[in-house]
């Protein structure tokens, strides 16, 4: 039960959505782009989320695209995680997706919703960071396509009124060798203690991580150390551990020291899986 009322809009086109947002803004109404609604419902009922209006984008055709061909993979932001898993167009993405929440929740959780989530794990973004994806945004000033690295730093940073419409990547990433693992506090349910995603492309290993810090990230420094040929595996891992972003999380899932221990072993597994393969 949500303790507040909100206006609900379900635009049928991108333009309608953008107009709506502007009109709500002019009326001074706090509004929220919404698709699956899981965060608004679960955080709203405990007073951690509030909105006066929602713009539900799930009927906008562009937000529901799912295209794959020789050149690229393109995914709409309103696709549910289970849809992405069922299509299974990018095995690494499928693997990361299937570790998020539970199947019932993933029927509702969307690609864009998870990337823009308040709950900071945002694990679904990891494969897109690894694949140097392009992001299609739409806002009052029109559409723009930018590199994910330009707009996703810890979280999606876009202009007011801008919506995440689609993500795209070159198809070569889909076929690249990868390794992914989600370590939880215990067993098979729960948030990540650390989720690691790695792939190898152009003879280099790329690594993105969620759960280590209060944001997901991909780090050039870590990758530089991990790919430092000629050094021992142990030295490459130690080098990576020395250049981690801060702060390291310490919470009910685990202490900071323990997370580093887990990360150490996961980096070892990444190297064991990818160091010797051609990619």
């Amino acid at each position: 039960m949500l303790p507040f009322d909100f206006e609900y809009y379900r635009p049928q086109s991108l333009q309608e959505a953008v107009d709506l947002f502007q009109s709500l803004q002019r009326q001074g109404k706090q509004s929220m782009i919404f698709s699956g609604g899981t965060e608004l419902l679960t955080l709203g009922r405990i007073d951690l989320a509030f909105t006066e209006a929602v713009i539900d984008i799930k009927d906008i055709p562009e937000c529901n695209s799912l295209q794959v061909n020789e050149q690229r993979l393109l995914l709409g932001s309103a696709l549910s995680l289970t849809k992405i898993e069922e299509a299974n167009v990018f095995p690494l993405l499928t693997k990361i997706s299937s570790g998020i929440a539970d199947h019932t929740a993933r029927e509702k959780i969307t690609l864009g919703g998870n990337i823009c989530a308040r709950i900071f794990y945002r694990e679904i973004v990891l494969p897109f960071l690894l694949a140097d994806s392009q992001v299609l945004l739409s806002g009052p000033l029109g559409e723009r396509i930018v590199s994910i690295h330009d707009v996703f730093q810890e979280e999606l940073r876009v202009e007011p009124g801008e919506m995440l419409i689609q993500l795209a990547m070159e198809s070569k990433y889909i076929r690249a060798p990868f390794y992914a693992f989600k370590r939880r506090q215990q067993w098979e349910t729960g948030y990540p203690l650390i989720t690691i995603a790695a792939l190898k492309i152009d003879q280099r290993i790329r690594i993105a991580i969620s759960g280590l810090c209060p944001f997901p990230f991909r780090s050039q420094e870590i990758e530089a150390s991990i790919n430092h040929k000629g050094r021992t595996i142990e030295a490459r891992i130690d080098g990576a551990l020395a250049v981690l972003p801060q702060p390291i999380l310490a919470d009910v899932e685990g202490s900071a020291e323990y997370r580093l221990f887990v990360l150490h072993n996961l980096l070892f597994d990444v190297l064991a899986a990818l160091d010797q393969v051609q990619g």
Binding site: R45, Q186, E188, T189, G190, Y191, V252, S255, E257, V262
Partner: protein, 772 residues
């Protein structure tokens, strides 16, 4: 036997699988106001001010209760204000209560109540509470009204102290060539019943108080509300429909009191209070935590001679049921072992945690972890096989319990036989350790447990049987159908005794305290035992009445008659008889004259010869019989990451007699599932302000489907002569040995003593030296 032992389908099955079963919150036929609690965000704080001005501005608010001195409540010690006054003692404690037209209005208004707190030092563990200069949770402990056998120590945090003094410790230590000593600790956690607690109350114009509640103890609700508030007990009627799991958490009386006060504040209108999941986790009573130290001595053959045990139970902010848990933990403090010399101090400690309630096993799963880990340490030191040392010391007929009850073949189950069966099921002959490769190892750990139910010595149960015109029978018992299928088993017991078809028995699922005979509480695995005995007595009563009237109709002496297949007939001429339909509402002669009348069967049961425990030595008979069980858990352990998977879990329970195999299996496996979650993952994390850091199912995680291991369940049948058809309680045993067995397996696998719960990979990593 025709019905007993069969896996008949539960009488509540169709309702539940079709989603039509109704729980307390599902009855929405009458307009109902909603109550919403405002809860404390801190573990320990002075309430400086409560401002309800803005909340009153919301249209639809009917009453706001806050800051008022209501009578103190609490079962053994009256230490708990229904709503906190002056100070809050735990995170989640109800401070104010809004009554409004709808749940939304109530929540809106509750959010607008502004409470100013001033933080107080927090008592964050029972060990800390026990220190001499500890902050006091209750400054006026000496002034509370209390039951005679509770022993709070004024100016301390000790709510109760139970002593066991058996044998002579000096002699015990003299015989012990090997001694181990260890300390243990784990935080409170929760029951996480599927149905959050819900209570509603209405006070009618004639003064009748109608309550509906998801409770394990509706008869207690009636008694306590009468007691606390001076209401006439006969005017209180408590209804309990299906209850969606309780595990002890719904035995305390809490929301019922708030609903009653709320209704009173709005002129008696019906008010409902439904816990959110978060409130259910931290505001309502939780699963008790424990700190403990054990010293255990044995001779070189592995025979135990002495045990010195200290338990500091984390009773939380209010003593309530924790007093009884503390007592029960003392009564069976050693686990199911013959130890001649025993010294135990069991303390119920006040802390700034959610107050505790019983948890499936009632202190026995908690103490079992402590004892079973100690025994493995001792076995290791003596280089004796862990199952063998348990077999050597297993409690047997002729032994005496810590409270000195002499055991015989009936009042204790056969533990050596359970151990034997576990050995076979887990393939103990293949060894406890199997190296998969240098990184992975498969390891088995074992444990045992026992339990007696230390319930009130005068706890009653009753049953009433009435007939329908077609000769079928209505069965009414005060047992709550809480998911265990007990009411189906009662029907089986009745069908067996009357030798009639099970379909001819209609079970009343809902309990209402006005027309249902009292069953003390649906706790302590006493449903089948006590209500079963009452049903048998009621069945005999019915048989007697049927025979009396049939004797007249058939012109035969009563002793020549038999009852079966819904008729009464001559033993030597079975075709001469009279069907129930002709006599259950009186017999009518062809000319219209009638004799007899409606047959109503009644039966009751009360446990016999139970006594209080002696204040100085603990001597006494706290429970009727001791059930026993043996367990094993097999894990695959990753020596690099300290992670593990539970491959198999095994329980062998002596349940006296299998009454319904499928429900018994369901009970044992469900309990094992809970036990493994408690052992491996479930706990509350507290910060320095005593706040629960994981008060949501996002971060508090019971076992989910798919995470469970393979379950191996075995039954041993050593009849308890008093039990219905020899049956013993079974609902709790599957759980109790899981923490010990898992702890033993992982300690062996990791090569380090793991004496805390939950057994997470991080805990093992820390025990192994962590980042050092």
């Amino acid at each position: 036997m025709e019905v007993i032992g069969k896996s008949v389908i539960r009488k509540d099955a169709l309702d539940k699988v079709t989603g039509r079963a109704k729980y307390t919150h599902d009855f929405q036929s009458i307009p109902m106001l909603s109550g919403k609690m405002v809860i404390s965000p801190y573990g320990h704080a002075k309430i400086v001010s409560i401002d309800t001005t803005d909340a009153w501005e919301i249209p639809g608010v009917r009453a706001i209760l806050a800051g008022e001195h209501f009578p103190l409540t609490g079962e053994a010690i009256r230490d708990r204000p229904p709503l906190a006054v002056d100070k809050v003692r735990y995170h989640g404690e109800a401070v104010a209560l809004v009554v409004a037209d709808t749940p939304r209005i109530a929540k809106k208004a509750a959010d607008l109540i502004r409470i100013q707190y001033e933080l107080l030092p927090v008592v964050n563990s029972p060990t800390q509470a026990f220190q001499k200069d500890a902050t006091l949770v209750h400054e006026h402990l000496g002034e509370y009204k209390k039951e005679e056998d509770s022993t709070p120590v004024p100016n301390s945090n000790i709510a109760n102290h139970i002593k066991i003094r058996k044998g002579n410790m000096d002699q015990g230590w003299a015989k012990s060539t090997t001694v181990v000593e260890a300390s243990f600790s784990f935080s409170p956690s929760d029951h996480v019943a599927m149905e959050p607690r819900c209570a509603r109350a209405e006070i009618k114009h004639d003064g009748n108080i109608i309550i509906m509640t998801s409770s394990q103890a509706p008869f207690m609700v009636k008694r306590l509300i009468a007691d606390y508030f001076g209401e006439e007990i006969g005017k209180i009627v408590v209804h309990t429909p299906y209850v969606g799991g309780g595990y002890g958490g719904k035995a305390p009386v809490q929301l019922e009191i708030l609903a009653y006060l709320a209704s009173k504040a709005v002129g008696g209108k019906p008010v409902e209070i439904l816990n959110t999941r978060e409130e259910d986790l931290i505001s309502s009573p939780c699963h008790i935590g424990l700190d403990a130290t054990v010293r255990l001595g044995a001779d070189q053959n592995g025979k135990f001679h002495a045990a010195e045990i200290s338990y500091w139970w984390d009773g939380g902010a209010y003593s309530d049921k924790a007093i009884d848990v503390t007592r029960s933990g003392a009564a069976d403090c050693t686990g199911p072992y013959q130890i001649e010399h025993v010294w135990c101090d069991s303390y119920c400690m006040y802390t700034n945690h959610t107050y505790a309630s019983p948890y499936r096993g009632f202190s026995h799963s908690e103490l079992s972890f402590v004892i079973e880990r100690t025994i493995d340490m001792l076995a290791q030191k003596l280089n004796i096989d862990p199952l063998e040392i348990r077999d050597i010391n297993a409690i047997r007929p002729g032994n005496r319990t810590p409270t000195r009850v002499l055991l015989n073949r009936s009042n204790v189950g056969n533990l050596p036989k359970c151990i034997e069966r576990v050995k076979e099921l887990i393939r103990w002959d293949k060894g406890a350790i199997l190296e998969v490769n240098p990184r992975f190892v498969r390891v088995k750990g074992v444990s045992t447990s026992w339990k007696t139910s230390t319930i009130d010595t005068d706890a009653p149960s009753g049953a009433i049987l009435t007939f329908n015109r077609d000769g079928s029978i209505n069965l009414m018992s005060g047992v709550i159908e809480i998911g265990t299928g007990t009411k189906t088993i009662l029907a089986q017991i009745l069908a067996e005794r009357l030798k009639i078809d099970l379909d001819k028995i209609h079970v009343k699922m809902e309990v209402d305290t006005q027309t249902t005979p009292e069953h003390w509480k649906t706790v302590a695995s006493r449903g089948t035992f006590m209500a079963g005995r009452a049903v048998l007595k009621a069945a005999d009563d019915v048989i007697k009445q049927l025979k009396n009237i049939a004797a007249i109709v058939l012109r035969a002496p009563v002793e020549d008659l038999e009852v079966a297949d819904s008729r009464v007939f001559l033993r030597d001429e079975p075709y001469t008889g009279v069907p129930f339909t002709d006599i259950c509402y009186g017999y009518k002669y062809p000319n219209g004259e009638s004799i007899g009348g409606q047959i109503i069967g009644r039966g009751n049961y009360i446990l016999r010869n139970l006594t209080h425990m002696d204040q100085e030595t603990g001597a006494g008979k706290p429970g009727p019989e001791w059930s026993v069980a043996a367990y094993a858990v097999e894990v695959e352990f990753d020596r690099r990451d300290y992670t593990y998977q539970i491959l198999q879990a095994c329980s062998v329970v002596d349940l006296g007699k299998v009454l319904n195999e499928k429900t018994a299996l369901g009970q044992v496996m469900g309990a094992m599932n809970m036990g493994l979650a408690f052992a491996g993952r479930e706990t509350f994390f507290y910060d320095e302000l005593g706040r629960v850091m994981n008060p949501q199912l996002r971060t508090y995680r019971p076992l989910r489907y798919g995470e469970h291991p393979k379950y191996l369940v075995g039954f041993v049948e050593t009849p308890q002569l008093d039990g219905p058809y020899g049956a013993r309680g079974v609902g709790e045993l599957g759980l109790m040995g899981m923490p010990g067995a898992l702890g033993n397996a992982l300690s062996l696998a990791a090569g380090v003593n793991l004496n805390n719960l939950p057994l997470t990979p991080e805990l093992i990593w820390k025990a192994k030296g962590g980042s050092q």
